[in-house]
């Protein structure tokens, strides 16, 4: 891993404008003084009627929270990445294999993977999240037990794999065989749920930049997931976050790993196409 002691340089890279606007700020994010993050990008073509620009949730956080993400020594999420590195190299299951037995050095074999997930899996003929692929590797490849969906082990392995793509723009495919799933995700994104009768779009498309109580609403992008949340000092997966947001509409949520959340993950990821993979980002 490239843990570099460049705190001072990283601090300089995060420029702090004096004005605190309600909208996204103009700060720039360079991690470890070397990985330049694309935190604002022209909206992908499928959003042309809706948004001009897609914006990382990093822009909506306080300066203190933002700066934690600029250096791996200050990013509490990196502890979990290190733990996942141990998991990567640990033999597990009946076949006596580790992840490394098949994939070698994670820094080489997993580069670019996070940027294209979720993606169509030809042999399984369905859209696969990274989590589904990891569990297939565990059960079929290693003869081990699957990990709990959105659980702590899963979240940290997703973080380790995501780190290998940091800075690369998200680029999930939404056409071809993935299209039906993407359409389902889109429908869910715009469906109002619960007694508060709110959809993802009510908060993250119509009202990003506004505050709900003390929360500064972002576009609800997933390029930073899994994220480290200061609130509970753990990594949260995208499905975990979706669940919390749906619950907050006073609705019955979907389950992490459900077909609905898989479809929503693909759709929401596609809304962030062009933004850099940031995981593990830091959020409040």
């Amino acid at each position: 891993m490239k843990f570099k002691a460049m705190t001072a340089i990283a601090a300089l890279a995060v420029s702090m404008p004096a004005l605190a606007f309600a909208d996204a700020d103009d700060d720039t994010l360079v991690v470890n003084g070397e990985i330049e993050m694309i935190t604002k990008a022209a909206a992908p073509a499928h959003l042309a009627d809706t948004l001009d620009e897609v914006i990382s949730g990093w822009h909506m956080r306080s300066d203190e929270t933002q700066i934690m993400q600029a250096d791996d020594f200050d990013n509490p999420g990196m502890i979990f990445v290190e733990q996942a590195m141990d998991d990567w190299n640990t033999v597990n299951g009946e076949k006596g294999k580790s992840c490394a037995s098949c994939h070698g050095d994670v820094e080489e074999s997993m580069t670019g993977v996070r940027a294209v997930y979720p993606k169509w899996n030809d042999s399984k003929e369905t859209v696969y999240t990274m989590e589904m692929q990891i569990n297939d590797c565990l059960t079929d490849g290693m003869g081990a037990e699957a990990w709990k969906k959105s659980g702590a082990k899963m979240a940290r392995m997703e973080a380790l794999i995501s780190v290998q793509s940091r800075g690369m723009p998200m680029n999930v495919a939404i056409d071809g065989p993935a299209e039906a799933t993407w359409e389902l995700g889109k429908e869910l994104y715009y469906t109002r749920t619960g007694q508060l009768d709110l959809s993802c779009a009510s908060c993250h498309e119509e009202n990003y930049g506004n505050h709900i109580r003390s929360d500064h609403l972002s576009q609800g992008q997933t390029n930073g997931f899994p994220v480290y949340r200061l609130k509970n000092a753990k990594l949260t997966t995208a499905h975990g976050r979706f669940k919390g947001c749906v619950r907050d509409t006073r609705a019955e949520t979907y389950k992490p790993g459900s077909d609905e959340f898989i479809a929503l993950e693909l759709y929401v990821a596609s809304r962030g196409n062009g933004l850099s993979v940031e995981a593990p980002s830091v959020r409040n």
Binding site: A22, G194, L198, R213, R247, A251, E252
Partner: protein, 157 residues
């Protein structure tokens, strides 16, 4: 146990005899979404109204609206317009309509309907994330809505 159920039953009967709160399904809306009559049949209490508006588990109006008169409560949101001077813009009946079912005044608004109990997708059991058990209660009671309207009526410029 038995005693309190009995007391409750008596109170309910007495309330009904006095033409108590109108049920959410029976609210009479004008063509423009206003509601002329008090939902509870009684006047509202200004102080309770301000409590309902600032309390997270009740109206939580400040989550979306800024209200200078309630600046003692922290973190007013910006999703909705400022409510300062709202009584100059709307009549009491219109304000009651906005609160009872905001969607009849503003099509497609993100403001919740505080006195509607059906027509929702996947209604939950409060904020538990679990499915609702049985019929929903409105987000606010008839009297709480009247209290909020009494408070809003004081917001003149």
């Amino acid at each position: 146990m038995k005693l309190s159920i009995l007391t409750l039953a008596v109170t309910l009967t007495a309330g009904a005899a006095m033409a108590g709160p109108v049920a959410p399904a029976d609210v009479a809306y004008t063509e423009d979404g206003a509601v002329e009559a008090s939902l509870s049949g009684m006047a509202g209490n200004v102080e309770n109204g301000s409590k309902v508006m600032t309390t997270k588990s009740l109206g939580n109006c400040v989550a979306c609206h800024q209200i200078s008169a309630l600046s003692h409560a922290p973190f007013h949101g910006t999703v909705g317009p400022s409510l300062d001077g709202v009584a100059d813009r709307w009549t009491e009946a219109e304000l009651r309509g906005i609160l009872t079912n905001s969607k009849l005044t503003y099509e497609g608004t993100v403001m919740p309907a505080y006195y509607v109990v059906d027509g929702f997708t996947r209604p939950g059991n409060g904020y538990t994330g679990k499915a609702a058990e049985g019929p929903l209660d409105p987000l606010l009671s008839a009297q709480q809505i009247e209290d909020v309207i009494a408070f809003l009526a004081t917001l003149k410029e």
